[in-house]
């Protein structure tokens, strides 16, 4: 069964450093998303991406964040200068590729735990 994969599973970084979180969405999907979950809190939407551009972003997704689909398979989230409050679990999701109904079901990856020291 196709699935969304994410690497690394755990990333530790120093405050101020740049990090890139990687995701491989399901191959025929067209819409891509990043969410984050701070420990003990709810899952929050960061950004959605379609047709090589951002379709929607939240207030959290400021100039320190960027997303890219560098090739036909990877979808990345970059944080330019990490802050302590960026520590969270980051989930990638994808949808849309198997008919109209599939656009409404997002498949999530296992997440990358980012720890900023």
């Amino acid at each position: 069964e196709p699935e969304v994969t994410q690497t690394p599973s755990h990333q530790v970084t120093q405050m101020g450093q740049e990090v890139i979180l990687r995701c491989v969405p399901i191959s025929n999907h067209l819409y891509f998303y990043w969410y984050r979950q701070i420990l003990g809190q709810k899952v929050e939407f960061l950004v959605s991406f379609y047709n090589n551009e951002i379709s929607e972003k939240s207030e959290i997704f400021d100039d320190q964040f960027s997303v890219e689909r560098p090739d036909g398979s990877n979808f990345t989230l970059k944080i330019r200068s990490t802050k302590l409050e960026d520590s969270a679990m980051y989930f990638c999701a994808s949808s849309g590729g198997g008919g109209a109904a599939s656009y409404n079901e997002q498949f999530f990856g296992p997440g990358t735990r980012l720890t900023v020291l």
């Binding site: 709810k42 899952v43 959605s48 989930f91 656009y103 997002q106 296992p110």
Partner: protein, 113 residues
């Protein structure tokens, strides 16, 4: 903007007992509703979804949910829980289309023998 309320942060229940996890959403013209489960140290797995049609939706692992438009609710139920159902359960809503998911704060289901 859409919002989701899960009033119960934690629900303890004995094995083989029934359970209901509550979810209410802010009113909108039309919405899609979802329940996701998160097992410890894992990602989010879709349990079930309501897009349209029958208001009673059946999902995986014996779970079901009922969409109630007048009460703006989408409560999750299971008639008999197992120890393995111990997990965090998230209710989520999106506007029609490929829009972002808005999640509730989650309900931790604790099943004990």
């Amino acid at each position: 903007a859409q919002s989701v309320t899960q009033l119960d942060s934690q629900v303890p229940v004995f094995e083989e007992a029934p359970v209901e996890l509550r979810c209410n959403y802010s009113s909108s013209v039309s919405v899609y509703l979802f329940w996701y489960v998160q097992y410890p140290n894992q990602g989010l797995q879709l349990l079930l979804k309501y897009l349209s049609g029958s208001t009673l939706v059946k999902g995986i692992n014996g779970f079901e949910a009922e969409f109630n438009k007048s009460q703006t609710s989408f409560h999750l139920r299971k008639p008999s829980v197992h120890i393995s159902d111990t997990a965090e359960y998230f209710c989520a809503v999106s506007d029609k289309g490929f829009q972002k998911l808005v999640f509730g704060t989650g309900t931790r289901l604790l099943v004990s023998p």
